[in-house]
């Protein structure tokens, strides 16, 4: 393979060599470091997902015993949630893009930014150590429910501490982004000209700041409980196990919006670009992001309808859950309206964006069934829920992440991947994805509980289909990553604006230089989606 060196920020750095990366406070280098780590963690967890599916191909133990299975889905869940999806778009692409998109040279606190990456990487290392040390890999599920999590002999303390560190990393990123967006917008970049991606990052950052600490204290309490055995959640000693679930979901429900909002931001960038038409309903889109963020903190107990919680709480939380669905619906309708009378180009990022809309609609509509009290009684803790959250997280955020990779990697590497292969990979991913998770939803409706390593024979056919689907998915993923990798190393060079987009990052060279903009600070004179006069560079 022909290798040529990268230019721009890849070269320019006060320090050279590895230290130039490890000690860099440049938001782009930090973003790239995040991206590398996140994709690595994703690949690890995805292999665990494959193992889960292999085990479930038939009833009875197939490739592992129950304890291993429990550890596998726990580690799969913990890595996917805390190490992949929560930091995926905000920490990686947010860092790469946020400052450029608002016309700044860096974030408000560059050193804090680096620190936050160190928290991330330490959390990741601890999580990996937790798998191989002490009493063995944690087997609590990513939800750490008490009293099981305070009793099991596996390495829960270390895993909880790892998640705590990751939460801290997420908080610091959030603080950084809120401050940056308030303080460092370029001249002329008023709120009505912020790209939607920035709006969603802004909403996300507030959730990160205001909800994540609750996870922190919850995990600390689990650790303290394991160390001191005080009985914080033990009914006989004045505790309340259900209260733990409240604390946990007070964070973890808003966290699902930390996952999806930036994804929605990515889609809001891509759809206008490939339709060459302004985003329909800019303010509705911007405000609905804030609405999701706010209303999202009011619905946590919809995970607890069957927990023994009071019916009054179910009434209110069920009601509010349906309210949160509305801003998401608004977004879907506006995206589709953006297509209307556009000039639509089905480039790889656009394909992923369209897949996002489809998958997220299925996931979200499934969420409505879960939000309805009576329906959730049946569906709760079945594989329908597993299907729902893979549709939203993988089908939604995951595809948005892939879309972002295809959209922005050429910007940051200056090279283009092969479009044909990208489209084949996309088709495989899309097909494999739906086969896998549609079957899981179906078998969930039949009543198969989740976190089951073994099941009754009635559930066999659909589980088999799901497993086969995961293989298609696997092929698609490998193809996609291989293609991107080759593209970054030896693809055709691109100019600064291969897609003909109008946001600021496309007005700087690819890859962007250190400090993004030459000597002159940019002055913004038009909105982010005004394509008249913008021409795409040939590549």
């Amino acid at each position: 393979m022909k290798q040529t060196t990268l230019t721009g920020f890849w070269q320019e750095s006060p320090r050279s060599g590895v230290l130039g990366w490890l000690l860099s406070t440049d938001h782009k280098r930090i973003g790239i470091m995040y991206l590398g780590c996140i994709i690595t963690m994703f690949l690890v967890a995805v292999c665990l997902g494959l193992a889960i599916r292999l085990e479930l191909i038939a009833p009875g133990p197939t490739i592992m015993g129950p304890q291993t299975y429990n550890a596998t889905f726990t580690v799969h869940g913990v890595i996917m949630i805390f190490l992949f999806i929560i930091p995926s778009i905000p920490a990686a692409f947010g860092n790469l893009l946020l400052p450029i998109q608002i016309g700044a040279r860096d974030v408000s606190f560059p050193r804090l930014n680096l620190l936050s990456w160190y928290f991330y990487i330490s959390g990741a290392l601890l999580a990996v150590i937790a798998i191989f040390s002490g009493g063995g890999a944690p087997d609590t599920g990513w939800t750490f429910y008490v009293p099981f999590s305070t009793q099991t002999t596996t390495n829960v303390n270390l895993a909880a501490f790892a998640a705590f560190m990751l939460g801290f990393s997420s908080i610091l990123t959030g603080i950084n982004f809120v401050t940056t967006i308030h303080r460092l917008r370029a001249q002329g970049m008023h709120w009505g000209r912020l790209p939607l991606f920035v709006w969603t990052l802004y909403a996300t950052a507030w959730i990160q700041v205001l909800a994540t600490p609750m996870l922190g204290i919850t995990l600390v309490l689990v650790m303290l409980e394991r160390i001191f055995g005080a009985g914080l959640f033990d009914a006989a000693r004045g505790g309340d196990p259900i209260l733990f679930q409240h604390l946990f979901w007070i964070y973890s429900h808003p966290a699902v919006y930390i996952m999806i909002l930036p994804g929605m931001g990515v889609i809001s960038e891509i759809i206008p670009t490939f339709s060459r038409k302004p985003l329909f309903g800019y303010w509705a889109m911007a405000l609905s992001s804030l609405a999701i963020a706010f209303a999202g903190s009011l619905v946590w107990a919809h995970h607890m309808y069957a927990s023994g919680m009071s019916d009054m709480a179910i009434l209110i939380f069920s009601f509010l859950t349906f309210i949160v669905a509305i801003p998401s619906a608004i977004k879907i309708f506006n995206w589709i309206s953006t297509l209307y009378k556009g000039s639509i180009q089905l480039a790889p990022p656009m394909l992923h964006a369209l897949a996002f809309i489809f998958n997220f609609a299925i996931g979200g509509l499934g969420g409505l069934a879960l939000g309805a009290a009576a329906a959730d009684v049946h569906l709760h803790d079945t594989t329908f829920v597993v299907g729902h959250f893979h549709y939203t997280m993988f089908g939604g955020t995951g595809f948005a992440f892939f879309a972002a990779l295809h959209y922005w990697l050429p910007k940051f590497t200056g090279r283009m991947y092969n479009h044909k292969i990208a489209m084949i990979a996309w088709a495989l991913l899309f097909a494999g994805f739906n086969v896998t998770y549609m079957s899981m939803q179906a078998v969930g409706i039949q009543g198969m509980p989740r976190r089951y390593y073994d099941y009754i024979p009635d559930f066999q056919p659909l589980n088999m289909v799901a497993t086969v689907g995961s293989w298609i998915l696997a092929v698609g993923l490998i193809l996609m990553f291989a293609n991107l990798w080759r593209g970054c190393r030896s693809g055709r060079p691109v100019g600064q604006n291969p897609w003909g987009a109008a946001t600021l990052e496309w007005q700087v060279p690819s890859p962007p230089p250190l400090e993004n903009f030459g000597a002159e600070d940019p002055v913004v004179t038009k909105g982010p989606y005004e394509y008249q006069g913008v021409v795409a560079d040939e590549y």
């Binding site: 129950p66 429990n70 087997d139 599920g141 429910y145 009293p147 099981f148 099991t152 002999t153 009914a235 196990p241 259900i242 060459r276 038409k277 302004p278 329909f280 309903g281 800019y282 303010w283 069957a306 019916d311 179910i314 009434l315 069920s318 009601f319 349906f322 669905a325 509305i326 619906a329 608004i330 589709i336 309206s337 297509l339 009378k341 556009g342 639509i344 180009q345 369209l354 809309i357 489809f358 609609a361 509509l365 499934g366 409505l368 069934a369 939000g371 309805a372 009290a373 009576a374 329906a375 009684v377 049946h378 803790d381 409706i445 039949q446 009543g447 509980p449 390593y453 009754i456 008249q532």
Partner: protein
């Protein structure tokens, strides 16, 4: 899924159909419009956009208000049918359920305990549940009911079986290694069968086996030698076991004493290679008698040979030469009331008071001179020439004196 006629399933299914139906329409609509736009306005045909619209207030309002109305109907339907799942009909039969790792125990108003839920067809059943260890969840897909069991708290579900048959109960809240195996069934019996079932049965099954099933021991332990999450309880008597006590390992031959400890205080010794997850069973859960029956069963004494006659043993071995059975004092303490009394012992030069129990009696028989009842001389010969079964028979007999 077959259409189900029971009331709870219908309440849930109606909501599911309503929401899934609406969702399907919305999904198809959205997808169709998207695909149409993508084809209709593809770049090869429309090189430039034909509109630069930034938005439309009327449309925004439309697609805020419409979804709001739609979701509100979903909410309301879901909630009102949920209330139906919570309001138990007045004539419901109340059955208590206890969940533990990884088995269910159902207790009927008359005190009978079962590990399956036998119910009469047509009668509403209210299951009042709790857990003794971690969270579990009672999930009967055929009735669409589900509720967590929470330690220290009571929760309930209700359902009515309209057709006789066997319906699965799953544990739907993750509870550790045996979570997927924490399965039992609802056995819906028609009136006749239920009547028959509720007659007290004189079962031919040894009491020990009944207890093993009732208590859900078989949820973790097999009885046929296959090893799972817990050691099999097949042919235990005399078998060698590698145990871990604290940090030390040791090998023992299984005897009733050990089995007794293993059930009452399983945390003390672990069978090597297993996790310390067996819950302790105290006397409230398994009475001493039942435990004895279990031990007998496991030691093979209950089934292998007819139970030794204890009275005969006492006579044959000369016990009665020293111990009376009528309260009078010969050389040793009388057997009269021995099962209920407290004794003062001298052990290691210290005086202790204990309540007589099987454990103590076994020690007294096998190592009589380690503990001496106050006021007596250390002169009893050890009865270690008796078989375990015989010892057990004696112990059992003495406890009832």
């Amino acid at each position: 899924m077959n259409p189900l006629t029971n009331p709870t399933a219908q309440a849930v299914d109606n909501v599911l159909i309503y929401i899934f139906g609406f969702s399907l329409i919305l999904l198809l609509g959205i997808t169709a419009v998207t695909v149409y736009f993508v084809i209709r306005y593809r770049r090869s045909k429309c090189p430039e956009p034909t509109s630069q619209a930034h938005g439309h207030l009327g449309l925004e309002i439309l697609w805020t208000v419409l979804p709001t109305l739609i979701v509100l109907t979903m909410f309301w339907y879901g909630w009102s049918n949920y209330l139906g799942l919570r309001q138990v009909p007045d004539n419901a039969l109340e059955i208590k359920a206890t969940a533990r790792m990884w088995s269910w125990q159902f207790q009927y108003p008359d005190g009978r305990r079962e590990s399956k839920l036998y119910v009469p067809v047509g009668t509403p059943i209210k299951v009042i549940m709790t857990s003794v260890d971690v969270l579990h969840s009672f999930f009967a897909p055929a009735f669409r009911v589900k509720r967590d069991t929470v330690p220290g708290m009571e929760t309930y579900v209700w359902f009515t079986a309209t057709e006789p048959g066997s319906y699965d109960i799953f544990c739907a809240e993750y509870c550790g290694t045996g979570h997927a195996d924490m399965i039992t069934t609802i056995e819906a019996l028609n009136a006749e069968d239920y009547q028959q079932w509720s007659q007290p049965v004189v079962s031919a099954e040894p009491r020990g086996l009944t207890v093993l099933n009732e208590q859900g021991c078989t949820g973790c332990h097999s009885l046929d030698g296959s090893e799972g999450i817990a050691p099999s309880l097949f042919q235990l008597a005399g078998a060698e076991r590698a145990l871990v006590r604290g940090d030390r390992g040791e090998i023992i031959a299984i005897d009733s004493d050990y089995l007794h400890r293993a059930i009452r205080q399983p945390e003390i010794e672990l069978v090597e290679g297993y996790d310390p997850m067996m819950p302790p069973y105290d006397e409230q859960t398994i009475s001493e008698d039942d435990l004895q029956a279990v031990i007998n069963y496991l030691m093979g004494t209950a089934t292998a040979e007819p139970k030794p006659d204890a009275r005969q043993l006492l006579e044959d071995n000369g016990c009665l030469g020293c111990h009376s059975t009528d309260g009078s004092l010969i050389v040793g303490p009388t057997f009269k009331g021995i099962g209920q009394r407290g004794v003062t012992l001298e052990r290691d030069g210290k005086t202790v008071e204990i309540q007589v129990d099987a454990d103590y009696l076994r020690r007294a028989l096998l190592k009589p001179n380690e503990e001496i009842v106050q006021g007596f001389a250390p002169m009893m010969p050890a009865a270690d020439y008796l078989s375990t079964a015989e010892i057990e028979a004696l112990v059992e007999y003495l406890l009832t004196q």
